[in-house]
Amino acid sequence: MGAEFVQFSLTPILIGVLSAIACALPGNFLILRRQALIGDAISHVVLPGIVVAFLVSGVVAAIPMLLGAAGAAIVAVVLIETIKRLGKIEPGASMGVVFTTMFAAGVVILEKSDTSRVHLDVEHALMGNLETLIWLRAEGWHSLFDPAALASLPDELIRIAVVCVIVVVLTLVFWRWLKIATFDEGFAQALGIPSAGVGFGLVVTAAVAAVAAFEAVGSIIVIAMFICPPAAARLMTNRLELQIWWSAAFATISAVLGYVFAGYGPLWFGGQNAVSAAGMIAAVSGGILGLACLYGPHRSRVGVGREEAT
């Protein structure tokens, strides 16, 4: 736990934890609203958003790409809703049509444009690169108080930290609205809560979290972070407040354990090279969900006896 840990492991673990929490918080509400797969759709359309942002701005910079990805997410949500209404199609199918098409368009634009010279490829977008986000200037724990070293922290860490704080603040500020609009939309409207606006805001927040996390952990694994920790938390408690805490805890455990397993697990089995940390984080979160499904105290539906449930 010396200088090497701070240099090579501290920032990836922090980024993993912050990404996981930033995704898990909106994920709680998405799951309760039966919109869990919005996260799936968003994470697929991040790719075309980033590609278009690169073509428009011409640089591989974080801010245009974040904007592009968030824009693509909003476009996707609007398109899904439009197609659902115009074609009278069920939401799942509408989602499937929109995000696969946008993803395909992203791949085609990427192939057609001259982006081969920059570091922008599909596999990278899918898998992320958590391992490379190291803090080279750090020389030990004391570097945490050294402004010169702090200035060279990976940008991704700063961004995901900011996004995570924004997500937490938004959740706290809109807590009552979110809670009421999620559980009883009719009651929310009767109280004058703009429940459609709350729903859209939630999706946009999820998109921003997904985009920020995407940089670090890759687009597909973001889905696991949206769904697994909140779903496991849902099986632990009947109180929304507690569920949020559980989900944050599960997200943190997944990120830390996943990173450790990916980095050191192969060594325990005699391997020499680390495996994908992002993939391992998703796998650990899946393991937690599996345990919650088997042993979670509130795993059954209300009104179903334990014998029936098995």
Partner: protein
């Protein structure tokens, strides 16, 4: 344009021909077997299935290499992917049945976790023995460059099997898709039929992995079925139309991608399918947007026309600008709002029909006939001329209206 036409007529070389035929077959199989998935409102299960194939590909490679094999045998890789896709399906089914999580959460969890495990396995493989693992990433987005005759055979055999099974199982699957409770009550094992349907989808996913890749095969399963739904109201036809749309998208997409460099086949096929979808969404005869707009306009004209004529009959001024424009255009009123002779005649007719309906309601107490009154259905369509003559006897002779 010439290379495109060449590819369209299978003149663009051996590989392009193979890809075009393979893509068309795959499109047909995916379209028709995806139909019931869409009708059952479980379209996105295919997304989870597709992503769940990745760990299978990795595992199969590792197993084959550790057994001393080549590791790139397509059949072996596909068998591996089928196993994990099936496990993924069972996990989704288990989570939704056993716990209180909804299906969408189960789908998302399986999708993310299996894909994560797959990525882990890919990184393991990358460190195993450099060089030999090349090509596994192509399962993500598909690749047609190295398509072999053997791959075409896999698609043709597997695809025709999937279409045949879909056709064979169309009745129970239709029943389950539209009313699963009734199906259960009549003795069908709904769970088994669902699993069978998913099994078909899984089969198509697996044979399509090589060509379009696991992320975009979802589009081949969903888009044709959704598109076909615009063109018909009969589920038996949706299967074949979806197959046709899928086959067409596959064929055109493959030809298009062969006609220019750097046009990846899988994504182009998806974009062609999406284009067909958009055209259907806008222009399909009954369910399309244009048809809906026209229907709405016709309805609007009918309502405004009738309200205007009733106003004429009651000698009320017409203040609604659109109504006035409509009646002026038909020559029923003059632009200053004064009715013409034709207008007065029509107004008298409309007003009299209203009174006839009143009379009808007194004579026929059952709502079956008079319940069809909506102000727009002509009374002649509901009652016979004898009956209308009877109403007229009750009402007395016609009255002229609006004599200025």
């Amino acid at each position: 344009m010439t290379p495109f036409v060449e590819a369209l007529f299978l003149q663009a070389g051996y590989n392009a021909t193979l890809v075009a035929i393979g893509a068309a077959l795959l499109g047909f199989a995916a379209g028709s077997s995806g139909t019931f998935l869409f009708l059952r409102k479980r379209a996105l299960v295919s997304d989870a299935v597709a992503h769940a194939t990745l760990p299978g590909v990795g595992l199969a490679f590792i197993v084959m290499v550790s057994l001393g094999g080549d590791g790139r045998s397509l059949v072996g890789l596909l068998a591996g992917s089928a196993v994990t896709a099936w496990v993924g399906l069972l996990v989704i089914e288990w989570i939704t049945r056993r716990t209180r999580l909804a299906e969408d959460a189960a789908i998302g969890a399986v999708l993310g976790v299996f894909f994560g495990v797959g990525i882990v396995l890919l990184t393991v493989i990358q460190t195993m023995s450099a060089g030999r693992q090349a090509g596994l990433e192509s399962f993500l987005l598909g690749s047609t460059a190295g398509m072999l005759f053997q791959d075409g055979v896999v698609i043709a055999v597997g695809g025709s099997f999937a279409v045949f099974a879909t056709w064979l199982m169309r009745r129970p699957m239709t029943l389950v898709a539209f009313d699963s409770d009734y199906a259960a009550a009549t003795g069908y094992d709904v769970r088994r039929i669902d699993l069978l349907m998913m099994g078909l989808v899984m089969g198509v996913t697996v044979i399509g992995l090589k060509l379009v890749g696991l992320i975009l095969i979802v589009a081949m399963l969903i888009i044709p079925a959704v598109t076909a739904r615009f063109w018909t109201e009969r589920s038996s036809r949706v299967i074949w139309i979806a197959g046709g749309v899928g086959g067409m998208a596959g064929y055109l997409g493959a030809a298009l991608s062969a006609s220019a460099p750097a046009l990846p086949t899988g994504p182009i096929i998806v974009l062609v399918a999406a284009a067909i979808f958009v055209v259907s969404l806008l222009f399909a005869p009954v369910r399309g947007v244009l048809a809906a707009i026209l229907r709405h306009r016709r309805f609007q004209v009918q309502v405004h026309r009738r309200q205007g004529l009733l106003a004429l009959a009651a000698k009320h001024p017409i203040r609604e600008a659109y109504t006035l424009r409509l009646l002026v255009r038909e020559g029923l009123v003059r632009p200053d709002g004064v009715s013409t002779a034709a207008g007065r005649a029509q107004a008298a007719k409309v007003a009299r029909d209203e009174r006839r309906w009143d009379a009808a309601r007194e004579i026929h107490q059952d709502a079956g006939l008079t319940g069809r009154y909506d102000g727009l259905t002509p009374i002649e369509e509901v009652f016979t001329s004898d009956e209308i003559a009877e109403f007229d006897r009750l009402l007395g002779p016609p009255v002229a209206v609006g004599e200025a």
